[in-house]
Structure formats: structure tokens, C-alpha cells
């Protein structure tokens, strides 16, 4: 996938940005308890996450160290707090605290000292000044205001108020980005995405269950560096994080191509790192940078550990990717009778082959318009891809009503 074209540099910052970092700035960082080496290393990591050329590192560094702290207001609605927890895992410890120092985190219920009235005052003061970054976790129920209230106000009321004057909204996690779990069939509370309620403010969606915090810090660094939001696909997902299919960057891909599949948990193939497709892996239908970034400071990721991807960064995955172990992503060009072995061998080197999710093909066709090549290969049929009795799945044990229940995206 191509490098994100960087936005043109605002001229007033260009001289500092492209030159070496000035010593005053480093002195200030040192006061904050950050040494030069770890700071530069950190900016290198950010730069790499953003898929920028290394020469951009000094510029990222300058922006990250700038004195003018933008305000962050972090709202949580129908959520599980998983994204706030993910935020606490920001990597590279000292510097991650700088990221906290770097933004003024004026409202974040999980960590803030104030409660009740005092917390609402802090929120309203930050919002009143405008220009804040609004980070949102969780979906918004439209089925009744009583489903989610905070301080006596409904989620909708708070969201509308807090998005006024915001510079941008960053949706962390699949629930605020696409409706997520609360919006899964039959969507009892009529939960929707933030983008369905708010208009007029640019949105960045960082789906994932939860989002990977490295993508959040990189988005913020990008915003501070270029004074612009990163380039995004038609679902408002930054290309630097959601530009590639998992399957295209997966270290098990060689085994997929060679037709070597793990067939049962703990079998020889599983132990040898074979492809997890036959155990339900949704990597072929999922766009996310998990294989590159991994999780928890690059320690591991689900496929690396041995469980298939479930497609958690895709809209409606709770309905379109389930049953997780029986619904195999459709691979175009192979009939339903293909055995896994035949299938894998035929696919050798066939990087041009497109994948489509059955059940969500039409949604994908509409949403993935950013790359016409890919769009043309997205399969819009809804055919079953049970791979036959040789497969581990008996029959696609679909739910009673498996179709048309993708959450509002």
C-alpha cells in the first residue's frame, strides 16, 4: 500500500520542522523528565506508524514538543471502557506521559480527579473555548434517551453540545465508529455511530475492539505535525492504519499460499504456525495494521498467538463475521467445493485476487470506494463458503437471521 502523501507543511513551522531540533526545546523536554535519545526514538516510532519517510522524524518531534497544548475532551457512551484502557497502554512509557502532557486532557472520566459537577464544569469549560479534539468511545442510543445518561443528560445531548466548535472528532473503537456491539442484531437500543448524530466536524474513525492506542497517538501526532488530519478511506479510517488487508501482511501467508492450514487447536499445523483460515480467520476481509504494529508495544497479536482475526475493525463485524469459527471469508474464484489444500495451492502468488465478505459484500462495495482496483474485485454475492466436509465446520451454522443486520455504519 502506498505511503500516505504528507500534507504540505504550514510555512510558519517549516524552518524548525525540517532542521535539527533546537536545544531550548530539548531542554524543556528534559525538564519534563524526557531524555533526548528516548524522545527521538519515540518520534521515530510515530513516524514509522504513520508510514512517513524517516526524514520526517524531526518535524514530528518539533510538533510533539510544541508548547501550545490542544484540549482533548474524551466522552464515553455505550461502551466497555476498553478504549480508555487501551489508551493507558500507550507505549514508550516516559514519552507516553508526554503525550498526556502534550494534549490537555480536560475531560476523561476514567482518569480525571474531579467528579460530578466539577467534572462537568471542566468539560464545559474546555468545550466553550472551542478548537478541542473530541475523542469518543461507545455508541449513541437513539431508541430512547434513558439508555445512556451522564450527569442527567442523554448521550445525544452531550455529544451535540461537546462537538460544537470541535476541531475534529476521533472515534476510538468500533462502537463509536460504526455502532459496534450495541448495534449488533437486533440492536435493542437503536445504537448508532457518532457520525450518524454529528455533522459538520471532520471525523477520524479508529475502529478495533478496542482500538490500538498506537494508532491514536499517531493520529494525534499527525494532526499536530501537519495541522491536518491523516488521509482517510471512505469510512474515515486513516490509510496509515487501515490501508492494508491483514491477509496481505500476515506472516502466515506463505502457509496459506502453500495450502498449509491448522485444522484443530493445538494440532501440528497450529503449533507450526500454519494459516488459520480453516479455523475461521477473517484476515482476508479485514483492513488493519495489526500484523505490522502488533499489540502492547509490538509484543504479539491475535493471529501471531494462534487465534484467527475476527475482523474487529470492520463495520458490522459482529453480524457479518459470525459465527466466528464457521463462517470463512469468501475468496473469489474458488467454488464452494474447493478443498482447503486445492484452494491454497491455487492462490499461490495470486495477490491480485480479491476477497469479499459474504453478507457484507454490498456494504463493502459502497464503502471501499477509495481504491477502484480493490472495489472491482470485491465480491458482492452472498454465497456460502462452507468448504465441505473436509473442513472443520460442519455446516455454516448461521444464525436464524444472518443477513441485513449490519449495524448502521
Amino acid at each position: 500500500m502506498s505511503i500516505v502523501p504528507p500534507a504540505p507543511a504550514p510555512s510558519q513551522t517549516a524552518s524548525t520542522a525540517n532542521g535539527p531540533i533546537d536545544d531550548g526545546l530539548l531542554a524543556r523536554l528534559f525538564e519534563l523528565g524526557v531524555d533526548r535519545r528516548s524522545f527521538l526514538k519515540y518520534c521515530g516510532v510515530l513516524t514509522a506508524t504513520l508510514a512517513l519517510p524517516p526524514s520526517f522524524a524531526p518535524r514530528v518531534a518539533a510538533a510533539v514538543a510544541a508548547a501550545d497544548k490542544p484540549s482533548m475532551v474524551y466522552l464515553a457512551f455505550q461502551d466497555c471502557t476498553g478504549n480508555a484502557e487501551s489508551m493507558l497502554r500507550a507505549r514508550n512509557p516516559d514519552i507516553a506521559s508526554v503525550i498526556l502532557d502534550l494534549m490537555s486532557v480536560d475531560y476523561q472520566e476514567t482518569v480525571m480527579a474531579a467528579a460530578g459537577e466539577q467534572s462537568k464544569q471542566a468539560r464545559d469549560a474546555a468545550v466553550g473555548k472551542g478548537g478541542h479534539i473530541l475523542v469518543v468511545e461507545g455508541s449513541v442510543p437513539l431508541g430512547g434517551d434513558g439508555y445512556c445518561t451522564i450527569g442527567g443528560e442523554s448521550a445525544q445531548q452531550i455529544l451535540k453540545k461537546a462537538s460544537k466548535g470541535a476541531a475534529a472528532i476521533i472515534n476510538v473503537g468500533t462502537c463509536s465508529a460504526f455502532g459496534g456491539l450495541p448495534a449488533a442484531h437486533p440492536n435493542p437500543t437503536k445504537a448508532v455511530a457518532v457520525g450518524d448524530v454529528v455533522s459538520g466536524v471532520p471525523i477520524v474513525n479508529l475502529p478495533g475492539c478496542p482500538m490500538n492506542v498506537d494508532n491514536l497517538t499517531a493520529t494525534i501526532a499527525h494532526y499536530l505535525t501537519f495541522k491536518a488530519l491523516p488521509a482517510r478511506d471512505s469510512q474515515q479510517r486513516p490509510l496509515f492504519a487501515y490501508g492494508d488487508r491483514i491477509h496481505d501482511n500476515c506472516p502466515r501467508r506463505g502457509h496459506f499460499d502453500a495450502g498449509q492450514f491448522a485444522m484443530a487447536w493445538g494440532d501440528e499445523g497450529h503449533r507450526e504456525g500454519y494459516c488459520l483460515y480453516r479455523l475461521g480467520c477473517k484476515g482476508p476481509s479485514t483492513f488493519h495494521n495489526c500484523p505490522i504494529l502488533k499489540w502492547n508495544g509490538g509484543t504479539q497479536w491475535p493471529i501471531g498467538a494462534g487465534h484467527g482475526c475476527v475482523g474487529c475493525s470492520e463495520a458490522g463485524f459482529w453480524d457479518t463475521m459470525t459465527p466466528f469459527y464457521d463462517r470463512l471469508p469468501h475468496i473469489e474464484g474458488f467454488g464452494v467445493d474447493s478443498t482447503a489444500e486445492k484452494l491454497g495451492l491455487t492462490v499461490v502468488g495470486a495477490t491480485a485476487v480479491g476477497f469479499g465478505l459474504h453478507g457484507v459484500g454490498k456494504t463493502l462495495q459502497n464503502k471501499l470506494g477509495r481504491n477502484s482496483d480493490e472495489q472491482s474485485t470485491v465480491d458482492v454475492t452472498d454465497g456460502s463458503t462452507d468448504l465441505g466436509s473436509a473442513g472443520f465446520g460442519s455446516s455454516p451454522a448461521g444464525r436464524d437471521n444472518p443477513d441485513g443486520k449490519a449495524g448502521p455504519a
Binding site: K69, R91, G143, G144, C148, G152, P188, R271, H307
Partner: protein, 573 residues
Amino acid sequence: MSPRIVVDPITRIEGHLRIEAQVDGGMVQDAWSSTTMWRGLEQILIGRDPRDAWYFAQRICGVCTTVHALASIRAVEDALDITPPLNARLLRDLIGVSQYVHDHVVHFYHLHALDWVDVVSALKADPQQAAVVAQSLSDYPRNTAKQMTAVQQRLQAFVQGGRLGPFANGYWGHPAYKLSPEVNLLAVSHYLDALDFQRDYVKIHALLGGKNPHPQTYVVGGMAIPIDPNSQYAINDNTLQQVRGLLQSGLNFVNQAYIPDLVAIGKSYPEWTAIGGGLNSYMTFGDFGGAQPKRGQTDTAGILPSGIVRNGDLSKVEPVDPMKITEDVARGWYSYREGDGTPLRPYDGETTANYTGPNPPYDFLDVDKKYTWLKAARYDGIPVEVGPLARMMVGYAAGDARIKPLVDGALQTLGVGPAALHSTLGRTLARGLETKLLADQSLGLLDQLVANIAGGDLAVHAGVKWEPKSWPAKARGVGFHEAPRGALSHWIVIEDQKIKGYQAVVPSTWNASPRDAKGQPGAYEAALVGTPIADPKQPLEILRTVHSFDPCMACAAHVIDADGTPIVEVRVQ
């Protein structure tokens, strides 16, 4: 009577909690606990593949990110009579035990400490003196004057910047803050260190679970992570060494920072051993026994004890009878067909949403009627407290060989008797003690795993019942897990290979429970009564007691239905 105090949102917790309290004469006379968010997961699970349930249920909560996955898997395994292999059980225990250490450290430093620690006061500290105090408490290597100075300067720069961010509008300078500036400074220093610690320690979950939050290697019948000492794609010696190092770092941090800091706070706030007790009845399911408990029963042979203590009577521990668990909805926004006050067992549970609360924006709830998205969970008809205090109380009463000396030692250090444990501080203390217990035991669990692998056992999954066609037409089961916040149970009914009914009775359902049909208050409500309030506009004392429970509201308010009763439209008055 003065108007009620409202604290909403209660921050530094998981989820959305509102407390309304009647304060007269400088003291809480009555309190109401309300959960103000609901997602309706019950409807969402009905009809799905039971093997997928864990992934959905895990999203009940992202803070206690492992616990619902585990309880859900155990429920399905109980229903289908599946015994996962020993390796899988030990891997689950290691993930579970490290969850405790992680979760409790984060709770103590990041969710609870600011109730006791005045951050602004730390600016006045003498950093040299702070280091002397810190070194007198423990040999934690970062208790140096250099470190204290750096932290103070950092704080200074932060405050001078004029943007206090998450520390803005705190109750700084409140008369209930009692620590010296030096102890405040050392606590702030450890607050920052704990941020680093938790980030690194949780790599255990990445190594064994693929990621955190929401580890992804659970699977019905075992674990989806292979073991093979001769493969780089499986748990091997390299993985086990890394896990060992991280477990050891947890033990070190708990011994050198958490426990000494806890003791320092405990000694400075002795009055809080007489405030915030509440129900004095406790329940714990027990866990981490390695062996599979009998079907439908709690784990009675685990590191964490199983049992009931009633009315503070430490002379008797009753065994848990799961069939004595019921819920009613007299005061929750639901309706039951046989009447809202009828106590129903989880297998027969109903969940029909019926919001009758005020139309937002509102100032007060109508606490004489229904006022929360929680059901009232009861054991044998009485409200019980669950969580760290319940576990330490039951273990203490049962004379548990590990828990008894641990608790006795702490009581001696603080110079108080066992009755002092029925309190806000007792709860906070119990959480620290069990963290120490589990951090100690975690290395032993790893040793067991290593020994089992060394014996040639590589199995991680019992595959015989993996295929849905091998299942009976009808089955039902319960999965117990003693989660960091308390006794957790998931109940599943399976029919024709699909989920017919699913219900979870979770720790915060017990603790944050509203009144029941008989008018008996829940644990938070009972604990708040009698809490002194110095300034009704700054209800710091309410936060202390509520935070001592470590609320987890998304957990509490998901209430999953056993029979798929359709949800009625929300009515707004």
C-alpha cells in the same frame, strides 16, 4: 431536609454510575446507587453460536477484560460437559491472576489514590525529605531524592502551564486530605511509575492472549494458543521466560510500592476503618484451583476461597449454593411477567426493559420508584457484598492457611482488630493483600505449567465436542469465575446448537444493587450511610467509599436474558 447531593458522573471507575445521597447534619443519611447506561446484550446473544458467546460477553467490560470471556467459556463447557486440558486451565489461571495484579494496581494508583492523595500539596514537599520517608517505607529502587525532585519539577511545569488537564477541579486542599506534602509527592511519583508498570506487566496478556485489552486466545474447550518447546510459533521457553520475568516484576512492584504505599495511607487515615462498612455479609465463589470443579459448582479448592459469611459473623462460613441466587426488578427499569418483585433464578430470568425514569436533562431521579438499570441480586434473599473484602473475610473466617496470616499481619501493622475490616479502608486494604497473595502464587502457577509441559503434555484443547452436531439438543450450564471485583457467574441455555438464553450475574450487580422488593439496600447504598461529609459541594468522602468497591458499571448493567423476551420500547415520562 436539605436537597439530595448528586454525584454524576462518578469518575475514575468503569462506566456510568450516579449516586444520590441525602445529607443532613454533615452525614449521609440515605443513598441511592444508579447505573445510567444499558446496551441490551441479551437480545444480541440470542440465537448465536455458543462458541462465539465469550467474544461478545468479553465486551461486557474492557477494564476487567478477561473475566467475562472466562466465565462465558466455563458456562458453555459446563453445559456440554467439556473438561479443558490442564495446560489450558493453567493458561487461563495465569491470565486471570495477572489480571488481578494489573487491575488492582491500576485501581489503587489511578482510580482510588487521588481520593487520599492531594496532588497539589506535593508541590510543597521537600524532595530530599520525601526520599527519606520513601526509603523508610521500602527498598523500591526509584525512591531516590533525584526521582522525587524530577517528579516535583515535572508537576511544577505542568501546574505552571496553567492547564491541569485530568487534575483540574479536583478537591485539592479539602480538609479530609491528611497526608504530608512529602507522602503526597512520593505517591504522585508512584502514580506515574504505576502507569509504566501496568503498561509493561500486561504484556503477559499479549504473550498468552495475543493482545490486551480483550485477549483473544480463549476458545470453548481450551485455549487457541499452541504449546511447543520446539516451535517459534507456539508457547516455548522464550515465551515462558518472558512471562516469568513479568510475573516477577509484578511481585516486586506489589511488595516494594503498592503494599508500602497502602500501609502509609492506612496509617494516616485510621478513621476510615470505622466508616463505610455496610452490609457485613459477604460472598465469594473461589477460583484458581487448577482442577476442574464439579459441574454446576463453584471452585472450593482454589487459591481464592469459596463461601458465605453472614452479618459479620466470622465464626461460620457457609458453602455457596448457586441455586440460592436470585434477582428482582422492583427498583430497576425492567418488568417481570409475574410481578417486578418476584425473585427469579438466573436460569429463569427475564429482561424486559421498561425505562420509567425522568426525561433527560434531569436533576434528580425518582428514588421512591425505579431508579437504575440494575436488577437486585440476592443470595438466599439477602444482599451480600462481593469482591476483595469478601474474599479476605471468608478466607480469614475459614482459617485459610495463606489468607489468615496475611490479614493478621496487616491488622497488627495498623494496630486494629478484625472488625476494622468492615470499612472503606478495610476494602482497600483487602484488595492490596490479595494482590500480594496472587502475585506470590502466580509464579507457582507458572511452575506447574512448565512442569506439565516438561512432562510431555502439549494439549491445549479438548476437541471432541467442538462440532455443534456432537451436542445434545438441549443443555444448560453455569460458569463461575472469582473476578477481581467479585463473584461472577454466567448462565447459558443452549437449544438446537444455538443460544436460547444467557444471563450474567456480575460483581457490580451485587455491589451496586438497588433496593430489592423488601426494601433492603445494596452494598454501595448501605456502605454510604453514616459517611461524614465536610462540604456537600465537594463530596470527596462519597468518592472514597464508592471507589473502595472499584465499581464496574458496564458489567453491572448488561443483564442478560434467559428466555429472549422481547424488549419493549423505552417510555419516557
